[in-house]
């Protein structure tokens, strides 16, 4: 996928001025937050579940190789195959050659964020395969030729009207069942068009929310049932999953599932929770002839041993996006790569490099709400700060900002000079503001004063005034 992270500031500004986007974001933000709140209010054991889930993930990460090998061997015993991919190119090559081996022309695809991460659609299309997205949101943005703007709701930035327009222009000539006036109308229309694709597809590709080591199963949660059709109708099912998705047991899976949907959409559980174990058995009525799992590393095994290890606990619920005031203001596309919001600002620099990604780590007030709502208690602000430390070390900060901060620190490190300057500067600004109490324009601070006044200092520093008062009291004045 194309990387536009460096343009975050400009893209954010454009997003703030995009009225349609703002309307869509406003609706989505409130909805996700309120629904999660309501779901948690009915789950008094949330904190215990959170601790349990964290312990499961920590344990798994400490024995990651072991559980991945167990998973592989269980997949094989159920008749499937596991493929290991170090990087995106290898993962795409594996997927493409599996499709070629199956003489495939049409690929039905479920939603997979790791698929986005490795640029799977581009690779499949470059191999002259036709790819149809079957998740409604993904289907919408495929028609619009856009990347997802949210990790669980890829088309959250689109209004109903925009979606109806897209369908009208792309399904032209196929004849609508009825005018697309409501959400069910849109869903029905997508279902009508997609049904034939499911039946005609040669390969189904899905992601996975979890991989279960003890059974060799992959777990997928959806609300549309498209995952089931994608995986069971075509003769070949390929699962693309990143390595940290593995958990030891079915029991562990249930704990994570209880947190996932509640944190994501506020549902107690998603409409469909599907477990895929191997290809069709002789006793099965249906199902794929082949079952493949492509395990993608793409830097994750390195994260195991560095400051970003906690990020491997992420279950991709999107709660950090939904509660992030920056994401809520600008939406996902401004971030310029696959993963937006706080989790994205931690992951993106690790995956595309700090040179392109460091601006994302800056785009946070470190308000901490992401960590607060994260069902896996991932310390996202700490890791954003970690990126900032590395950026500063690598000299990636803009020279002017770096200079200004360094200048400030140099003064703060000299208490006498500091005292002298604070005293004079505060009196000066106080005088300039006069009786008004605020400044409307301040040189070098246009960013602040374009929309805000700068309250004026009261004049004179506190510490000096305090000393004076102590002196006066001491001498009985």
């Amino acid at each position: 996928m194309k990387t536009n992270t460096r343009e975050f500031p400009q893209r954010a500004q454009e997003a703030l001025l995009d009225e349609r986007l703002q309307a869509a974001l406003g609706k989505a933000r409130g909805g996700f937050v309120d629904k999660r709140r309501a779901a948690l209010d009915e789950l008094p054991e949330f904190e215990q579940l959170r601790l349990a889930a964290r312990a499961i993930k920590e344990h798994t990460l400490s024995h990651l190789e072991e559980y991945l090998l167990q998973f592989e061997s269980e997949v094989e015993s159920s008749g499937g195959q596991v493929h290991w991919a170090t990087d995106p190119a290898e993962a795409c090559d594996i997927a493409v050659s599996l499709c070629r081996d199956a003489n495939a022309q049409l690929i039905a695809k479920g939603k997979t964020m790791v698929g986005e991460e490795i640029g799977l659609n581009e690779a499949l299309e470059a191999a002259k395969l036709r790819v149809v997205e079957t998740d409604l949101g993904e289907y919408i943005i495929q028609l619009a030729d856009e990347p997802p703007s949210h990790i669980i709701a890829p088309a959250v930035h689109k209004s109903r009207g925009e979606i109806a327009e897209l369908f009208e222009s792309h399904h032209h000539g196929e004849g609508f069942l009825r005018p697309l006036e409501s959400v069910p109308d849109i869903v029905d229309e997508a279902r009508r068009v997609l049904r034939d694709e499911f039946l005609a597809a040669d390969v189904g590709i899905t992601g996975a929310n979890m991989l279960i080591a003890e059974t060799g199963s992959t777990v997928l949660v959806t609300n549309e049932g498209n995952g089931d059709l994608t995986s069971s109708l075509p003769p070949v099912h390929i699962v693309i999953a990143s390595i940290e998705k593995v958990v030891p047991t079915l029991e562990d899976t249930t704990i994570l599932l209880r947190l996932l949907a509640r944190s994501a959409t506020g549902q107690p559980i998603t409409s469909y929770t599907s477990f895929f174990t191997g290809p069709k058995r002789s006793s099965d009525l249906g199902g794929p002839e082949q079952f493949h799992v492509v395990l993608v590393d793409n830097g994750r095994s390195q994260m195991l041993g560095n400051a970003y290890r906690d990020m491997l606990r992420c279950i991709r619920c999107g709660a950090c996006l939904n509660h992030c005031p920056v994401y809520g203001a600008v939406g996902g596309h401004a971030y310029g790569w696959v993963y937006p919001g706080p989790m994205g600002s931690v992951l993106t620099p690790l995956m595309i490099g700090l040179g392109d990604g460091h601006v994302l780590a800056d785009a946070s007030t470190l308000c901490g709400r992401c960590e607060d709502v994260c069902p896996m208690s991932i310390p996202l602000p700490r890791m954003l700060r970690e990126h900032r430390l590395q950026s500063h070390h690598d000299g990636l900060m803009k020279p002017l900002a770096r200079g200004a901060l360094g200048f400030w620190a140099a003064i703060a490190r000299r208490p006498r000079l500091y005292r002298w300057l604070v005293e004079r500067k505060s009196r000066l600004l106080h005088r300039i503001a006069g009786k008004r109490g605020y400044l409307r324009k301040v040189p070098m601070a246009a960013g602040w004063t374009n929309s805000r006044d700068l309250p004026a200092p009261q004049g004179g520093s506190f510490v000096a005034a305090w000393q004076q008062r102590q002196k006066n009291e001491g001498s009985g004045k």
Binding site: A12, L16, P325, A329, V330, D362, A363, S364, T365, L366, C367, G368, R369, D372, R385, H387, R388, L389, Q390, S391, H392, H393, M397, A401, L405, G406, W408, A409, A412, R413, P415, Y418, R419, V422, K425, S426, K435, R436, G437, Y438, A445, A446, G447, W448, N450, S451, R452, D453, L454, P455, A456, P457, Q458, G460, S461, F462, V463, A465, W466, Q467
Partner: protein, 249 residues
């Protein structure tokens, strides 16, 4: 009990009345208050911008200034959070200071948290007339676990009607240098915050962090809204005769 007041660089520079109010509240509660003259900045701007070297220098300097006191009290959640939660990380690899950083950290408190949790203060003797709303700064709320304490003290003021702010858990968009690096996003966030304040019908908004307050007051002043902005210490010390933040004198 010997208590050092770390006024914070913003209070020192912008609003000495907050420092005097904080000192008054502490003295009223029986503390002997010192204001060490060598205090400057806690180093948070450096730390949040990845400048580890300057953050370490400033943290060591602060520890030298404040180490000998029983408590270090800060009229700011974010600067208190810097001392309490970040200094031990900043100085983790410093053989001379890592232990000191941890020792100082546990003696460092945000002002209202200290008054209520440590000193058991239930009222401050001031009064306040009117409807007030409270802005939870992110660092008070999430880093320092200070949210009920200021509410308790404010509701103890005779005449004070405290109304809750919708979306009180959402950041005001200040974020230190964030407000300068991403001014448009910051503006959008503070605009939402000010809209929420307006919706409460309160004539006064208070918080425990001057950074947030300057941001909110700056936006309120630009929009020429009749809402007064005060630091919580000023209200608790009965200092509402002082012009509010950004207000005409």
């Amino acid at each position: 009990m010997r208590v050092a007041l770390f006024a914070t660089c913003l209070v020192d520079f912008m609003r000495p009345s907050v420092g005097f109010a904080a000192a008054k509240l502490l003295q009223q509660a029986g503390c002997t208050v010192d204001v060490p003259v060598a205090q400057t900045c806690c180093g948070q701007p450096a730390w949040n911008n990845g400048d580890a070297n300057n953050a370490r220098h400033l943290a060591r300097q602060m520890i030298d200034v404040f180490y000998d006191y029983d408590y270090v009290i800060v009229p700011s959640g974010s600067c208190a959070g810097m001392l309490r939660h970040h200094y031990p990380t900043v100085l983790a690899d410093d053989p001379d200071y890592s232990l000191k950083a941890s020792e100082l950290a546990v003696r460092c408190h945000e002002l209202t948290g200290f008054l209520v949790d440590v000193l058991g203060v239930t009222s401050t003797g001031a009064t306040f007339d009117g409807r007030l709303t409270w802005h939870d700064s992110c660092s008070c709320l999430r880093e320092m676990q200070v949210s009920q304490q200021p509410r308790q003290l404010l509701t103890s003021l005779p005449g004070c009607e405290l109304v809750e702010l919708p979306d009180n858990e959402v950041c005001c968009g200040f974020g230190g240098t964030f407000s300068v690096k991403f001014p448009e996003i910051s503006t959008r966030m503070v605009t939402d915050k000010v809209d929420a304040i307006v919706a409460t019908g309160a004539a006064t908004v208070a918080a425990a962090d001057l950074g947030c307050l300057l941001n909110i007051a700056g936006r309120i002043s630009r929009r020429e809204l009749p809402i007064r902005v005060f630091h919580v210490a000023e209200l608790l010390a009965g200092m509402t005769d002082t012009p509010a933040i950004g207000e005409e004198s």
